[in-house]
Subunit: 150 residues, 2 copies
DNA sequence: TCGTTAATGGTAATGGTTGTCATTTACATT
DNA sequence: AATGTAAATGACAACCATTACCATTAACGA
């Protein structure tokens, strides 16, 4: 169906970033103030259930959504996440090497476990340069802890 | 340091599953009733920050934790998640093929974006056989929606 | 135009997670 | 063993993203 849903899809088609439900709500609200947050959540749920939108979680407490279909949509979503500042980099280089392996594994998993696999997610977690230097200065006790616990 | 933390680590070392904070709290509480939920969260946060525990999110609203070090700990965490019932399968077959590719990509990403990458996550999302048949019976309106929206 | 059904919005409730703060524990020093 | 200091703890409150509820509104076919 349609009305506010088109607005939501429009917003998602424009911005290629990983928007949270609130991000989308704010932007949709600008051009159509009548739309409420509840509708945004409901529409996103619907879009995810029909495989049109992917829902990600990068550990910052809010879900992120990304359009899977339409022009200028990337098919594969491989992310580099900084666990320090929650910065997300969506890398597209190097992907080609992964795809064939991942797809062949997907086919095997699908057969073995009797799953209909709709999409996959590859996420590298670590610390960006900035957060890494911040960590080093002033956290001798962490390595201490690690020694004691290990 | 130590005390309740050892108990928490002990629980995590015993159970190879993906425990939520509350799961851990309940089990720790059985053998050491003095330990509170807050301590469990704080300890998990510490363990994650020093790279001893990985934190996952499978979309069911609660975080999952898994020990990364010690005996009988798997180094790689590749999951198959049913978006219908949140069932998680940790597959270990097929992994060998992925590792070399993923590690070479990790090295390239680390250099290009100046990240210290601590671990990676591969997640295939889909529907298990049970949820898949449930979806088919009684959700003609979903494919209808999909048609309209597409 | 009218009627049925689905969609919507505001608000309240839910629930996992984090903050606060007084108390307790651990550990190094006498 | 006693003591002092700083970190760790636990109970409870606060937070905040998400979901439930319900009365109202919009959409679409007749």
């Amino acid at each position: 169906m349609t009305t506010g849903r088109e607005a939501i899809l429009g917003i998602m088609a424009q911005s290629a970033e990983h928007l949270s439900a609130e991000d989308i709500y704010i932007r949709v609200h600008e051009q159509k103030p009548s739309i409420g947050l509840t509708t945004v959540y409901r529409t996103l749920e619907l879009l995810v259930s029909i495989g049109m939108v992917a829902k990600f979680d990068f550990g910052d407490g809010r879900a992120r959504f990304e359009l899977l279909q339409g022009p200028k949509c990337v098919k594969y979503h491989h992310h580099l996440v900084c666990t320090g500042c929650s910065r997300i980099i969506e890398y597209s280089d190097f992907i080609a090497e992964e795809i064939s392996i991942l797809e062949s594994i997907q086919a095997k998993l699908s057969k073995k476990y009797d799953f209909v696999i709709t999409n996959h997610l590859v996420q590298y977690c670590g610390l960006c340069a900035k957060c890494c230097t911040e960590k080093k200065s002033g956290t001798e006790q962490l390595t201490e802890d690690q020694r004691v616990l290990a």
